[in-house]
């Protein structure tokens, strides 16, 4: 498992190649990329996003989410890359890659990782538009998405 927080953009193909080189146990690779849209949540044209995070806790929390994913699905490997700082429309924000013997575990684990990342990893987005900068409000649909994975 690798969790990486970085300012620079990443390349999906390069990341997957590095993760899978020399590997023959994974029959399924699922990737999810979150990309910066050209519109703010209000619909206004977006100049950029700025991502703030809580250094130290971010890495620990993503590690906890990954541990939970590995306890629930049989995964060969997991990669989470999340950018911070200023991100332009069209640029990648987040990457989740899951490797498993079969597709079901890889698909489900990738979705779980993203749902939990969105609601519990300490990142905050600020939208930059012609009107200035605004903090993005959390969406209840994201809470609902994470909630469906809860189990006692």
């Amino acid at each position: 498992m690798t969790v990486r927080i970085q300012e620079r953009p990443f390349d999906l193909g390069v990341e997957v190649a590095a993760l899978t080189v020399g590997r023959t146990d994974a029959g399924a690779i699922v990737t999810f990329s979150g990309v910066c849209r050209d519109r703010a949540d209000s619909g206004a044209p977006l100049a950029a996003l700025t991502l703030e995070h809580y250094p130290g806790m971010t890495e620990e929390e993503l590690g906890r989410i990954e541990t939970e994913a590995r306890s629930r699905w049989s995964l060969s490997d997991v990669l989470v890359v999340h950018r911070v700082g200023r991100i332009l429309p069209g640029e990648p924000i987040v990457l989740v890659v899951t490797l498993s013997a079969h597709r079901k575990a890889a698909f489900e684990a990738a979705e779980f990782l993203m749902d939990y990342l969105k609601t519990s990893a300490p990142f905050w987005k600020s939208e930059e538009t012609a009107d200035g900068s605004n903090w993005v409000a959390a969406k209840s649909s994201d809470d609902d998405a994470a909630e469906r994975w809860k189990r006692d």
Binding site: Y54, K118, T119, P122, F123
Partner: protein, 83 residues
Amino acid sequence: MKLKYFAWVRERVGRSEEDAELPSGVATVADLIGWLKGRGPEYAHAFEADAAIRAAIDRRHVRQDASVAGASEVAFFPPMTGG
């Protein structure tokens, strides 16, 4: 104890972190928020929607009824919006 603030909580408080000596009687995260609100208008503004504020103790999410006893770092922030 180190206090940390992020996103709009940080902007409203006007600083990203500070050291604080908590008075006796501040037992929980909710108590700590109540004490901070009395420290000045910037804190009152930052914590006015106090039910919406999330907290972490020593880099783990906690509820506002969590005890702050023994904590070395308490962070306050809005609901997260990464991904």
